[in-house]
């Protein structure tokens, strides 16, 4: 048997990282997107600064507002961490959305099936099973990449839709809630919902879970031997192989972790907010996680502010739509622009003044 060397893409963020500098890389796309957004607003006769001010106010001022922002950012933190772990191993996983859907359904299923179990049992169980399903889902493209050199970008992208339509089938067919016309599962048992912090907002303990997981992920990458292997494989897989690291196995582990966290993200959203699985419930959390991960690059903790930025936009954007008649789609414009700029290398040529590069 001949086994060709497993090719690992360079961590897509690494090259940008070197040029922008750590802070520049995370901040520059935001700033540029805000400028583009301001241009769009101004051209269409809106008050850009005023709009941003309203968004800021709605997103951060006041306990309930802040809680809502953090609520919106919770799934993005989780999908951001999920994507980042895979990216760090040099695997371009754009399939977190799929893990999220399957994890979400699994969590809902536990919640509406084992209604007799107490909360302390059913909640952890739902998360564990959701993580497991998400990980298994990610294993498929991971194994195909590691052992058959099948490009992971296309497989993960395609498998997203398989997951979305499959869960859609489940809640339109076998698990359609009795008595509803909409495509949704039965509601989960009350004790299976993630406890909330307050009456005025759906803000719940999932956020804390997400924060803990981010720190845990950061710790894992920095301090554990597995994290070390993941980093080395992502930085230079041939070097890692020569040093004795099993490259194929390492990238499979990274994908399993990525899928697991994606599954958690689905569980958190279903058990923390929706209370049941709803067909097509995600507005693209998995894809937004890609942006978040790109912005964080090699510093996992940056996932948190990046996710909060998008959470704030979503939260504030709603109010802007309500009061100043500015469509919430402005948020998509901003996010799309962030993505376009996130991996651009030459945009800041004039900033690259440091000599001595290769």
């Amino acid at each position: 048997m001949i086994t060709t060397e497993t090719t690992v893409r360079q961590n897509p963020t690494a090259s940008a990282y070197n040029r922008f500098g750590p802070l520049g890389q995370s901040l520059a796309p935001f700033v540029l997107a805000l400028i583009v957004g301001a241009v769009v607003l101004t051209v269409t006769g809106k008050d850009a600064l005023g709009t941003y001010a309203i968004i800021f106010q709605q997103a951060f001022l006041g306990v309930t507002n802040l809680a809502d922002t953090l609520l919106f950012s919770t799934p993005l933190i989780l999908t951001g961490v999920a994507t980042l772990v895979a990216f760090r191993a040099g695997v371009f996983n754009v399939g977190v959305e799929g893990s999220l859907y399957l994890g979400a359904f699994m969590a809902a299923w536990v919640g509406f099936t084992w209604t007799g179990l107490p909360g302390v049992v059913v909640l952890p169980l739902a998360f564990v099973l959701a993580g497991l399903v998400g990980a298994l889902w990610a294993w498929v493209p991971a194994a195909l990449k590691a052992y058959l050199q099948v490009d992971e970008v296309v497989t993960t992208l395609m498998l997203n839709y398989v997951a979305i339509f499959f869960t859609s089938f489940l809640v339109n067919g076998p698990f359609l809630a009795p008595g509803t016309a909409n495509s949704m599962s039965p509601a989960v048992a009350p004790q299976a919902e993630v406890p909330r912090f307050m009456q005025s907002s759906q803000f719940n303990w999932s956020f804390v879970f997400a924060i803990v997981l981010t720190f845990g992920g950061g710790w894992m990458l920095r301090r554990s031997t597995l994290g070390y292997a993941i980093r080395m494989v992502g930085d230079n897989s041939r070097f890692a192989a020569a040093g004795g690291i099993n490259v194929a196995r390492t990238l499979i582990y990274a994908m399993l972790l990525s899928g697991m966290v994606g599954g958690f993200a689905g569980a958190a959203q279903i058990l923390g907010v929706n209370g049941r699985f709803i067909d097509n419930f995600s507005p693209g959390y998995g894809f937004q996680g890609i942006t978040v991960a790109l912005l964080a690059a090699e510093r996992p903790l940056v996932v948190i502010p990046a996710a909060i930025f998008f959470g704030a936009l979503t939260n504030g954007g709603g109010l802007v739509q309500l009061f100043s008649n500015i469509p919430i789609d402005l948020i998509n414009v901003l996010q799309g622009t962030v993505m376009l700029f996130a991996t651009t290398r030459l945009a800041f040529k004039w900033l690259k003044s440091r000599p001595g590069k290769e």
């Binding site: 395609m158 997203n160 339509f165 499959f166 998509n332 799309g336 651009t344």
Partner: protein, 315 residues
């Protein structure tokens, strides 16, 4: 549901609903041949759908609508090319960003300009005509299959031989393939690789524009920002399935178009889940990619055994 009349309608619907997929898949195939994975097909189609409705409404003319569709999509495509080719941004991330940007811009502009939420279907919006071909129209089965579509559907059929001719028979197409497959070799032969990649994206975008316009000016006459509904990704699936070769890609597109027609049909019926049918194209691509990889592996193993035998002979 297997009565001949129903099957005939289904096939006719396949050709109609498959047209935008086919056009976008040709776009994707051209880009792929130029070495670019275009994830932005979805957004480019949406830009076409939007531009088509906007300009058809403003000018009360469907042909102007088509031109408007192309203009809007070209603007977006130029942005994509600028980032991916000139600024060397990651093509996957940029493609996904482009899709979001397209949704965002369409969703932003409609309420601001026309004060509409959701679907934009103004009075005076001129849809595409449906061409009834004399003589052929009156032939029983063939008439139903070949007549009564809008011009874009007919063009979508034409786009397959045109794409093939362009890629394999013109100088520009040959250079484009060379630039996509072996950029260094192309450069060594004096070919402007970057320019051709720009060309591939812009050509693709024009095809996507037609695909979008067909959706918003013929299948329905309205625009909403979700109307492409993943067709760009189905097109991606189609050209991956067809390995970016025009004819296999077209066949895959029509098969996927058939699934779509079938799924609409099944919404009325019970029994087979339309969702599972919608899932098939995506699953098919994964399976196809695995098959290609396995075949490659087998070939390599054979080559290795031959080489091994040769080395053994010498030693």
């Amino acid at each position: 549901m297997f009565e001949p009349a129903i099957i005939l309608t289904l096939l006719s619907k396949t050709l109609e609903m498959g047209a935008p997929i086919l056009l976008a898949a040709m776009a994707g195939a051209i880009c792929r041949q130029a070495g670019i994975v275009n994830i932005g097909l979805e957004g480019m189609m949406l830009a076409g759908a939007f531009g088509g409705v906007l300009f058809s409404y403003l000018a009360h003319s469907a042909p102007v609508g088509i031109l408007g569709a192309i203009a809007c999509a070209l603007a977006l495509g130029a942005l994509f090319a600028l980032f991916v080719i000139t600024l060397r941004a990651n093509e996957i991330v940029s493609g996904l960003g482009l899709n979001l940007l397209a949704v965002g811009l369409a969703g932003y502009i409609l309420p601001v300009l026309f004060n509409v939420q959701g679907a934009f279907s103004p009075l005076g919006l001129e849809g595409l005509p449906h061409w009834h071909i004399p003589l052929i129209e009156s032939i029983p089965v063939i008439g139903t299959l070949l007549s009564g579509y809008d011009p874009v559907v007919y063009f979508s059929w034409l786009s397959v031989p045109l794409t093939w001719f362009f890629l394999y028979r013109t100088v520009a197409g040959t250079h484009l393939r060379a630039a996509g497959e072996a950029e260094e070799a192309a450069r060594a032969a004096g070919i402007n690789a970057r320019g051709l990649k720009w060309l591939a994206i812009l050509l693709g975008v024009a095809l996507c524009a037609l695909a979008g316009a067909q959706l918003s000016l013929s299948q329905v006459t309205l625009f909403n920002k979700q109307m492409t509904a993943g067709r760009g990704f189905i097109a991606l699936a189609a050209f991956y399935f067809g390995e970016a070769r025009p004819v296999p890609t077209a066949i895959a597109s029509l098969i996927f178009g058939f699934f779509e027609a079938l799924q609409f049909r099944l919404q009325a019926e019970r029994g087979i889940s339309p969702q599972l049918i919608q899932m098939l194209p995506y699953l098919a691509v994964v399976i196809a990619l695995v098959a290609v990889a396995v075949r490659k592996r087998v070939r390599l193993n054979t080559k290795a055994r031959v080489a091994q035998a040769a080395a053994g002979q010498e030693a």
